[in-house]
């Protein structure tokens, strides 16, 4: 591939060096957080073209439109369906179903967060669950920190379980041709174990300290979850469409559809059902609201990033990098998978896991000949997903959901300090990676 892209790099410089410098600069500036990450990625992408590393055609070929469609489709589905109050209903129902016992509430909220995160994006999940959690803990008169802490962990753990749960899985699935079912069959089992282990440790830490009096429990038992549903017709339409979308994800291979088409078609159907029969002006107004809820910063971050990664890929850097990994691990499948698992976990705890995963995908793909074709790469894909998604639990800045919860908590006057979080979360993240390591090794490498 080397040289294929360069119709003429600036001043005759080596495209490998130019693209490597651009990749490092893009990563570096993203890490400083001085400039919005979408701007950095788009500038990086623009420079890949302007310096002649890539042509526009090659940059566009690097874009993963399936990932973009899946992300936008799911964001639209959530933007419409959240207005029905269904997610708040689940959180309030948990509190009541647990009969006001704080530990049981914490466990159920953790489960709800994990399951919802597996089906929706993590930030949206915690944005919906965390505020209700604050109301519940205030009614219970118990400290909210243990609840918010476990919800952060649960959202990142739950997100790892499915193709659509976390952006790294979306890009991995799209690039490696792995279906919704592949993720469920291969990752959900280990995620259930990780979640159970996490709950057990949290119980040991906080279980006994969470005590409430009878009055507090009575307040919780007076909750009326049905009141949380603000729009019943919308709830029915949302459940119908979300059900259809999940069914289509499960049957994707049989019906020959890509995840991006399913998500965007689902979004289109829900928008149609929600707007049918309304006056044109009202439709425009509602659509403006829904479209403004799509996280365009994330979408354009992906757009830029895909082109930056395409640049280094065309220039040959990633082939070279894959060769280095293989020579370090001696080309052994087990060693390579474990290196990928641990490196992605530790790196994802401190840097954004999306650019890391986007860069690693071509690296892993180029290892196919060493491991006997795409089938041989499966343990590596699962290692990358588990490491990158679970690694986000290691620090407060490891994943967007962590910062979202911390932001809500701080505004509600609950301190969420970097070091306090790190002391408990980092060892728990390491525990989840050890479990994943044993799982990947036993299931795929022996």
């Amino acid at each position: 591939m080397i040289g294929e892209s360069a119709s003429g790099v600036w001043l005759g410089w080596d495209p490998l060096w130019v693209s490597t410098a651009l990749l490092i600069a893009t990563y570096g500036v993203i890490m400083t957080e001085r400039v919005n990450r979408a701007i950095v990625a788009l500038v990086g992408a623009g420079l890949m073209i302007l310096t002649g590393v890539l042509t526009q055609k090659q940059a566009l070929a690097g874009e993963d439109f399936n990932t973009l469609a899946l992300l936008i489709g799911m964001m639209l589905l959530v933007a419409v369906s959240r207005k029905s109050g269904m997610f708040q209903y689940l959180a309030i129902w948990s509190a009541k179903a647990a009969k006001g016992r704080p530990w049981a509430i914490l466990a159920l909220l953790t489960l709800v967060t994990a399951v919802v995160s597996a089906l929706l994006d993590n930030v949206t999940t915690v944005l919906l669950i965390a505020p209700v959690t604050l109301v519940i803990t205030e009614q219970l008169r118990v400290p909210p920190y243990p609840f918010l802490f476990t919800e952060i962990l649960a959202s990142n753990i739950g997100g790892t379980a499915t193709l659509i749960g976390d952006p790294p899985n979306i890009i991995i699935g799209s690039a490696a041709g792995l279906s919704f079912n592949d993720f469920v069959v291969n990752l959900t089992p280990v995620i259930v174990i990780v979640l159970a282990a996490q709950l057990l440790v949290n119980h040991l830490i906080w279980g006994r300290a969470l005590r409430v009096d009878e009055t507090a429990r009575t307040r919780i038992m007076a909750f009326n979850p049905r009141q949380a549903i603000t729009d019943w017709p919308l709830l029915r339409k949302s459940l119908l469409v979300i059900g259809l979308v999940i069914l289509a994800f499960i049957l994707a291979r049989a019906i020959g559809l890509e995840a991006g088409s399913i998500a965007l078609s689902g979004a289109a159907l829900l928008l149609l059902l929600d707007n049918l029969g309304r006056p044109a002006e009202e439709q425009t107004h509602r659509l403006n609201g829904v479209f403004s809820e799509v996280e365009w910063i994330t979408i354009f971050f992906f757009v830029g990033l895909f082109a930056v990664v395409a640049g280094v890929e065309h220039a040959g850097l990633l082939d070279w990098f894959a060769g280095q990994i293989l020579s370090a691990t001696g080309g052994g499948a087990a060693a390579t998978a474990l290196v990928i698992l641990w490196a992605s976990a530790l790196l994802s705890a401190i840097i954004d896991n999306i650019p890391f995963v986007a860069t690693m995908i071509p690296v892993i793909k180029s290892m196919a000949p060493t491991f006997g074709g795409p089938e041989g790469l499966l343990p590596l894909w699962w290692s990358l997903s588990l490491g990158a998604c679970l690694g986000g639990n290691g620090t407060l800045i490891g994943a967007s959901a962590n910062l979202t919860v911390a932001g809500i908590a701080e505004r509600a006057g609950i301190p969420f300090r970097f070091m306090t979080f790190l002391k408990l979360a980092f060892p728990m993240m390491l525990m989840s990676i050890v479990i994943s390591m044993v799982y990947v090794y036993v299931r795929y490498l022996t």
Binding site: G85, Q88, I92, L127, A130, P131, V132, L134, V135, E138, Q139, R219, A222, F223, N224, P225, R226, Q227, A228, T230, I408, R411, A412, G413
Partner: protein, 150 residues
């Protein structure tokens, strides 16, 4: 015409160590929406208003933007709210007073004061050179002056 000529002089104020219960009693008794808070030396330390009081009665998360769409699920909880009012009643208003409210000066022009009333949508304290509260200017005061009813 200046603020001094149209303001309500010698207004009712809260001291920093007055309690929330006292503030609620004064607001309810006089139908005031906002009261200036003064420190031990009589200097303005901010203001405590009806919305500060309501926020104390509500679950904190519900007062942050629109993070919690509504609280209908809490059920009928007037006794809970009454208990909450008792619970918060003993807190001093000093730390709760909003220090960011703009303060009017007695020699300020009416139009300038009107703009601040419009922007802040509440009655504003008037302070002298030593930052002591000498009056308040409500939109009623301003409108009465403009409509020649004062």
């Amino acid at each position: 015409m200046t603020v001094q000529s149209i303001m309500t002089a010698k207004p009712l104020t809260l001291r920093s160590d007055d309690t929330v219960a006292r503030a609620a009693e004064l607001m309810l008794g006089h139908r005031y929406l906002i009261l200036p808070v003064v420190d031990a030396d009589g200097r303005c330390a901010g203001a405590f208003d009806m919305w500060d009081l309501l926020a104390l009665l509500l679950p904190k998360a519900a007062t942050l933007d629109h993070l919690v769409p509504d609280l209908g699920f809490l059920g009928d909880d007037l006794p809970n709210l009454q208990a909450k009012l008792k619970e918060i009643g003993g807190q001093p208003v000093g730390p709760l007073a909003r220090p960011d409210l703009p303060l009017l000066k007695p020699d300020m022009s009416v139009v300038e004061a009107l703009l601040l009333l419009y922007r802040n949508r509440t009655t504003l304290p008037v302070v002298d050179a030593d930052n002591c509260v000498i009056g308040v200017l409500s939109y009623w005061d301003a409108l009465a002056a403009i409509a020649n009813k004062k």
